[in-house]
């Protein structure tokens, strides 16, 4: 049945890039699109049909990796060259945005003209990550590409904005429902009935043009002597149309057809042999063909008529009917389906039928066998969903299933039930335990069980903050694990390393992380290697070995490149940015920050969101641009999550330092108060960075000392002793520099020069000069004094300290002192909530796109770089930035960024 009025709208002169077909089930969405693209039409193909990539989504596509693979496969049916790179990126577990960007480039260049991508049944998608990727696709759609989204619910896209800008064409229920004329054509011509105008009008009114209902009505009337009577009783009834009509249709079927329909309703897809297994009869295939011929809502899923599914609406009616009429049979039907799928080696389908049929024993067995493979492919979520559906009493006798449940829970961030599960495993691990009572289906997972339990115990102890127990359990895991069990050895070593790090034993922590990296590399768990490399590099740089830290990070990048792994690489670049800043290499640092940014947050581990912002802020500070640094630091504080690493450098302390540098001592004092810090605190490695920050604040507050002022020099002395005892040269250098500055502030030039000389000598071998360079130009006179050999006991000006002082002084004019360049911090901290919601202060609020641009303006990308990032031309970018300046009443980029920060955008 052709619908020229709708196809005409779709094929209008210049249709926009996004077409949304949004209506409930049974409104002919798919049929209309098929007609438009010519697949179901006899009247010649619409030009659009020539290049249409069609993807019908189902629940299994609700996973980013599966979804984008399916999109690429669909595109390749019409544009074979498209998506080759995207496929490779998918295999390397790259973030969705990278994959979409690659696809967009391919489509813009290689797809030629007029390519349409149809995503049908988009309402099955619930993954926020997929929605974000599709939103990105919509925002960057090239002119030659059209995207069609069809589904029963509106997708979470900025539809209002797209409507306002004319970038959206919508076909909704009101458009799709049959008009009276269409109803007549459908019933009398397509379905072969002979109804008068009165009946047609009555049916149209009763069904409100709902096509599925009309279809059911037509089926009910076929072969009836008196269709008018049927119409009269239907129109005079106020039962839900589907309920009324499905009953009519079902009642008119022979008993064996009716039974077949009800009993196979539990299947999400049907094929002859499967139907035979479920119904316990034969002739399933013939029955399916018969149903298809009778137009009984059977949809073929392949050209060879092997697999079918019921029309969704009809399937729901059938299932509800089955549940009402033969509830005792439902579990049995699912059980037969589960057995069939298990035999067919389709564990996912088998498990979902076993669970639906409450055959938990079978489900438990299948899950135990299937789950390890899911962990390997990072589909822990599916495993967790399955396991959560099993009753608790099933676990005590199943040690392997139990440990899988512990893993599925802990990997996805939970603790619920873990202790109970581990307690249930314990008896089976006792020496001489009688394992004959245990139910084990996956024998291969039994041998490593003791080591795995110890690893989880160590992780639990760490979460509970018990470092001694963490080490004890992890060491036990190392004893229990087989020599070639690299995975558990690597996990256990990393846990010992982390506990030692938190306890301040840096030498032992470094050794353990090095072991862990070796084992995890052998096990092929590259992202975990990268996480450990970050920790190792942090420790090495704390121990004053920046060169080793940089080597560790670069080795991590090499390894990731070799294995094609992305997750963790953004972190490595951000860490390299900071390591190079410590060496006062701002250009090198900027390159790594760009690399981290290009990879995106999706290529980062849990710490990355705050760490790259810290790195970016520090880079701005190194250029004296405090106004750009502070918003980033605010964001870093909000995202501060060390992912179990010791909080040795809280983002709030880094922000307090920036406040101090900008002269906002009040903000720094608030931080010190909120953090409960004081100069008389007991010292510990974990709080060292905060204490040094506090010393900076005290020095700024009391430069002259004396009177009631806290004794900064005594505090620094204690810090110095602790840092030297703990062998932390970076901290030693910084404390010495602060001691020198304190002496200088009090007019003790000779002591000051001696301290700075000591600092430079300590910094020398590893070029830990960043902390000195940061104090320029105010420290320049003191540097000159050291260079001139004024330091006590260094009469000729020839020591390492003097050389380094000269080097620093000749490194070009000092960057503008942070104190002059920094703007005052925003008077009002940005409120919570989305940027768009915050724009009450603006007459003309920024659009979502302009907010995107604003975000980039905060960074240090050039115009062409930003244009590339946004996939727009430079001219388009200029239009955006000009509109932002106008709306924010700013003259330039810097003013715009500052104004946005004030508004909390």
């Amino acid at each position: 049945m052709e619908r020229p009025r709708l196809v005409g709208r779709l094929a209008g002169a210049d249709p926009p890039g996004l077409i949304l077909v949004s209506a409930p089930a049974g409104f002919g969405k798919t049929t209309l699109l098929a007609e438009w693209f010519g697949a179901g039409s006899t009247a010649g193909r619409h030009p659009a049909a020539r290049r249409t990539a069609w993807l019908s989504l189902d629940a299994s596509d609700d996973d980013p990796a599966a979804f984008w693979s399916a999109v690429v496969a669909a595109l390749q049916t019409v544009a074979p060259g498209v998506g080759a790179e995207a496929s490779a990126l998918l295999q390397a577990a790259q973030p969705a945005e990278t994959i979409v960007a690659s696809l967009l480039n391919d489509m813009a260049e290689g797809a030629g003209t007029d390519l349409t991508l149809v995503l049908d049944d988009y309402h099955v998608i619930t993954s926020a990550e997929i929605h974000a990727g599709v939103a990105f696709l919509v925002d960057h759609l090239p002119a030659n590409i059209r995207l069609v989204l069809a589904g029963r619910a509106d997708p979470p896209l900025p539809l209002a904005r797209l409507r306002a800008t004319g970038d959206l064409l919508e076909i909704r229920a009101a458009d799709l429902r049959f008009t009276a004329a269409e109803t007549g054509t459908y019933l009398n011509q397509v379905m072969g009935l002979t109804l008068g105008e009165h009946e047609v009008t009555a049916l149209e009114a009763r069904t409100e043009g709902w096509i599925a209902a009309l279809q059911l009505a037509a089926l009910s009337m076929q072969g009836r002597d008196d269709p008018a009577a049927f119409v009269a009783s239907f129109a005079g009834d106020d039962r839900f149309v589907v309920d009324y009509l499905a009953e009519e249709v079902l009642e008119r079927q022979p008993p064996e057809v009716r039974r077949f329909l009800l009993h196979t309703a539990v299947l999400t897809r049907l094929t002859g042999p499967l139907c035979d297994a479920v119904t316990g009869t034969t002739g399933g295939r013939a029955m399916l063909e018969r149903l298809e011929r009778a137009n009984l809502f059977l949809v073929p899923l392949d050209d060879r008529r092997r697999w079918y599914r019921y029309h969704h609406l009809f399937a729901d009616v059938l299932q509800a009917r089955l549940l009402d009429e033969e509830p005792e049979l439902v579990d049995q039907l699912h059980g037969r389906a589960a057995a069939w799928f298990e035999e067919a080696a389709e564990p996912a389908e088998a498990i979902s039928h076993a669970l639906a049929g409450h055959d938990t024993e079978r489900a438990a067995r299948l899950i135990e066998l299937a789950a390890p493979a899911l962990f390997q492919t990072r589909q822990e979520l599916t495993a967790r969903r399955w396991i959560a559906a099993l009753p608790a009493e099933l676990f005590p006798h199943r040690p392997v299933l139990s440990i899988l449940a512990v893993g599925a829970t802990m990997v996805s961030g939970g603790l619920t039930g873990v202790e109970q599960l581990l307690a249930g495993i314990k008896p089976w691990l006792e020496p001489g335990a009688d394992l004959s009572g245990a139910i084990v289906h996956n024998e291969a997972e039994l041998a490593p069980l003791p080591a795995q339990v110890a690893v989880y115990r160590a992780a639990l102890a760490l979460i509970g903050g018990d470092l001694a127990a963490t080490v004890a359990h992890a060491e036990r895991a190392l004893e229990l694990a087989a020599p070639d069990d690299h995975l558990r050895r690597g996990s256990a070593a990393a846990l010992v390393g982390l506990a030692r790090w938190s306890g301040g034993d840096l030498a032992e922590a470094e050794a353990r992380y090095a072991n862990s990296i070796r084992s995890l590399t052998a096990a092929g768990h590259i992202s975990d290697v990268l996480g450990c490399s970050l920790a190792l590099a942090d420790i090495q740089s704390t121990r004053g070995r920046l060169g080793d830290a940089i080597a560790t990070l670069e080795a991590g990048l090499d390894l990731a490149r070799f294995h094609g792994v992305a997750r963790g690489t953004a972190d490595l670049h951000a860490a390299l940015c900071e390591a190079l800043l410590d060496r006062h290499d701002a250009d090198g640092a900027a390159r790594h920050l760009d690399a981290a940014r290009a990879l995106g947050e999706g290529a980062g581990l849990p710490q990355h969101p705050y760490r790259w912002r810290l790195a970016a802020a520090r880079l701005h500070l190194a250029h004296g641009d405090g106004a750009a640094a502070l918003p980033l630091l605010d964001e870093a504080v909000a995202r501060y999550n060390t992912d179990m690493s010791p909080p040795v450098r809280p983002a709030s302390a880094v922000r307090a330092r920036a406040h101090l540098a900008s002269g906002d001592r009040a903000a720094a004092r608030r931080w010190a108060r909120d953090s409960g810090l004081g100069p008389d605190d007991e010292l510990s490695y974990v709080r060292e960075h905060e204490h040094i920050t506090l010393a900076r604040l005290l020095l700024a507050d009391h430069p002259a000392g004396g009177g009631d002022a806290p004794d900064v020099l005594a505090f620094l002395g204690r810090l110095l002793a602790a840092a030297e005892a703990g062998d932390r040269p970076g901290a030693v250098v910084e404390i010495l520099v602060l001691t020198a500055l304190t002496h200088e502030a009090r007019g003790h030039r000779a002591e000051a020069a001696a301290m700075l000389d000591r600092a430079l000598n300590a910094a020398g071998p590893e070029h830990l000069v960043g902390v000195v360079a940061d104090e320029r130009p105010s420290i320049d006179p003191l540097l000159a004094a050291v260079a001139a050999g004024a330091a006590a006991g260094d009469g000729d000006g020839a020591g390492d300290g003097a050389d380094l002082a000269r080097e620093l002084l000749t490194a070009g004019p000092a960057a503008p002192g942070p104190a002059e360049a920094l703007a005052p911090a925003p008077a009002i901290p940005p409120p919570a909530g989305s940027p768009v919601a915050r724009q009450r202060g603006l007459v003309d609020p920024l659009s979502a796109r302009e907010l995107d641009v604003l975000r980039l303006l905060r960074g240090d990308l050039s115009g062409p770089e930003m244009a590339r990032e946004l996939h727009v031309s430079l001219n388009t970018l200029r239009t955006h930035t000009q509109r932002i300046y106008t709306k924010l009443d700013a003259k330039n980029r810097r003013e715009a960024v500052r104004r946005a920060a004030e508004l909390g955008l």
Binding site: R239, V241, G413, Y456, G490, S491, G531
Partner: protein
């Protein structure tokens, strides 16, 4: 499966929810036999051409599951009310 310290996330509080009674009104008269399909809610067709589904719903996820079933059947939703605790 691997658990390194760097994979363990921080843990939020458990969201505990007691179940509530809900009343969902839809357009069209629906036979009471649909009760089993709608997770055992009582299906009460009215004289005004609407149907009320009512009963306890364990949590928000279950409520959204019910709404999705209504949507998939094409049943027009009229109102949704949480009833006072009894």
């Amino acid at each position: 499966m691997v658990t390194t310290a760097h994979q363990i996330r921080s843990y939020g509080p458990n969201v505990s929810q007691s179940h509530h009674d809900y009343e969902i009104r839809v357009a069209g008269r629906l036979a009471p036999r649909w009760s089993a399909w709608f997770d055992g809610l009582t299906v009460a067709p009215g004289d005004d051409g609407t149907t009320v589904l009512h009963g306890p719903v364990p949590d928000q996820a279950a409520l959204h599951g019910l709404l999705r079933k209504l949507r998939d059947l094409g049943l027009p939703l009229i109102s949704l009310t949480q009833k006072e605790d009894h």
